[in-house]
Amino acid sequence: MLESIINGLLEALKIIVTFNPEVYWVLFLSLFVSGTAVLLSSLIGIPVGTYLGLRPVPGFHFLMKLIYTFMGLPPVLAGLVVYLLLSRAGPLGFMQILLTPAAMIIAQTILVLPIIVGLTVVGVRSKEEALHSQIISLGATERQAAWIILKESRPQIITAIVTGFGRAIAEVGAVIMVGGNISGYTRVLTTAIVLETRRENFEMAIALGIILMALSFIINFGLYKWQQEAVEK
């Protein structure tokens, strides 16, 4: 086993330095699918989470329980739902995007969106409770107060994005169901690892795993730096 890990490490280095086009495509697609899903989820989830955090709507607590439940949504279930919706007989079958990167982005967005909404609500809510009265007392209008609370919630919102990205990049169940793991088209790092493991090509699987971890580290390194800048500003 130790030998496989060492060989996997060497294989990973070889893939990186020799610019293996197939692996680089998988790497690019992983980034593209997960990055787009996180971007879409952020564009929808941050405004929704901010709104709910600032102005709890009727049924807020029930809604939060629902969001928390969806934060733990099993990827295969998300994959199944998207598969049924996009399959030829499904209501969105006319779009003909099943087994494409677009379907994978939709599935990952469904998984990431509740995380970004939920964590944004919690972050904004805690800032709202701590700051709202104090800001209003200093003479802010409700609009000014909302903007300041949002700005002060930046580290929490970045945490939501980091967590969402972690969920997306590590996810395998949904993308394999709706993407199909097609070589050179819908194969991403996680589905490639599954395939190589099934082929008992452990060195390659470990190499891909190391690349996945390295990719995740680099992105989280950047996000963490961004978050620290927001904290220490």
């Binding site: 700051l131 009265s133 007392s137 200093l138 209008t141 000014q144 002060e152 927001a230 904290v231 500003k233």
Partner: protein
């Protein structure tokens, strides 16, 4: 003649249907230091929130400079609210430098940056915080945060400054500094000040007026000297004697 800055008439306030404040009549006077006293959960903070227009009373009227603050247009409400500032028991500073925090209320009012700079420098100097101007608020000690929150309130030069247990996080040196600062503010700036405190010796050192609350009701109010020398109620005698 002493003039009323705030008048409460038949004010009742409820939380979840429970009566938490019942004040038939109370005047807070201009250019005085009024100290609110009372045991925990006696309604002091609720009273402050109502005066600061952060909550509307369930019943009754509150007048600020003869204007009923209950039924106001949004613009008029903001205009009046900007004449008073409350420093909270646990103040929270923004994620910015001390200078930016103190400038915050002035920015909200859309003031010119040169005026803001001059005003903030003046207040920081007055509060003896000028050496910390560029320090991030996250790196201030508890006592410094408390003083910074007061400086933030002072910067907007309010007519009424409300301090909710401002000495709580302070060491004796800072308490002394803050007491002197409050007395200076009151003397030099013609500012009305309401302070909530539990420290009886502090009341005798600072208060012009005292309001004693218990279970949401005003037990006794009046000039500090009268309250201390000639308390009318048994509860007042016990409270200022430190029994309660």
């Amino acid at each position: 003649m002493t003039q009323s800055l705030i008048e409460l008439r038949n004010v009742k306030h409820y939380y979840n249907g429970r009566l938490v404040l019942n004040v038939p009549y109370l005047d807070i006077f201009s250019n005085k230091i009024t100290i609110l006293l009372g045991p925990n959960a006696s309604g002091k903070s609720t009273l402050l929130r109502l005066i600061n227009m952060l909550e509307q009373p369930g019943e009754g009227n509150i007048y600020f400079k003869d204007v009923d603050i209950i039924r106001l247009s949004r613009e008029k409400r903001l205009e009046l609210q900007r004449q008073m500032v409350m420093v909270f028991q646990r103040p929270v500073l923004l994620n910015a430098t001390l200078f930016e925090n103190v400038a915050f209320g002035l920015h909200l009012r859309g003031m010119d940056s040169k005026i803001i700079e001059k005003r903030v420098e003046e207040v920081l100097k007055f509060m003896k915080l000028d050496h910390l101007a560029d320090r991030s608020a996250t790196r201030l000690s508890g006592g410094e945060v408390q003083l910074a929150a007061i400086a933030r309130g002072l910067a907007v030069n309010p007519e009424l400054l409300i301090l909710d247990e401002p000495m709580n996080n302070l060491d004796p040196r800072h308490v002394k500094l803050l007491e002197q600062t409050v007395l200076d503010i009151s003397r030099e700036r013609d500012m009305s000040i309401i302070i909530v405190t539990h420290q009886i010796p502090q009341v005798s050192r600072m208060a012009d007026e005292v309001v004693l609350l218990e279970e949401g009701e005003v037990i006794e109010s009046g000039p500090a000297e009268e309250i201390f020398n000639n308390p009318q109620k048994e509860f007042t005698r016990e409270f200022i004697g430190g029994i309660i």
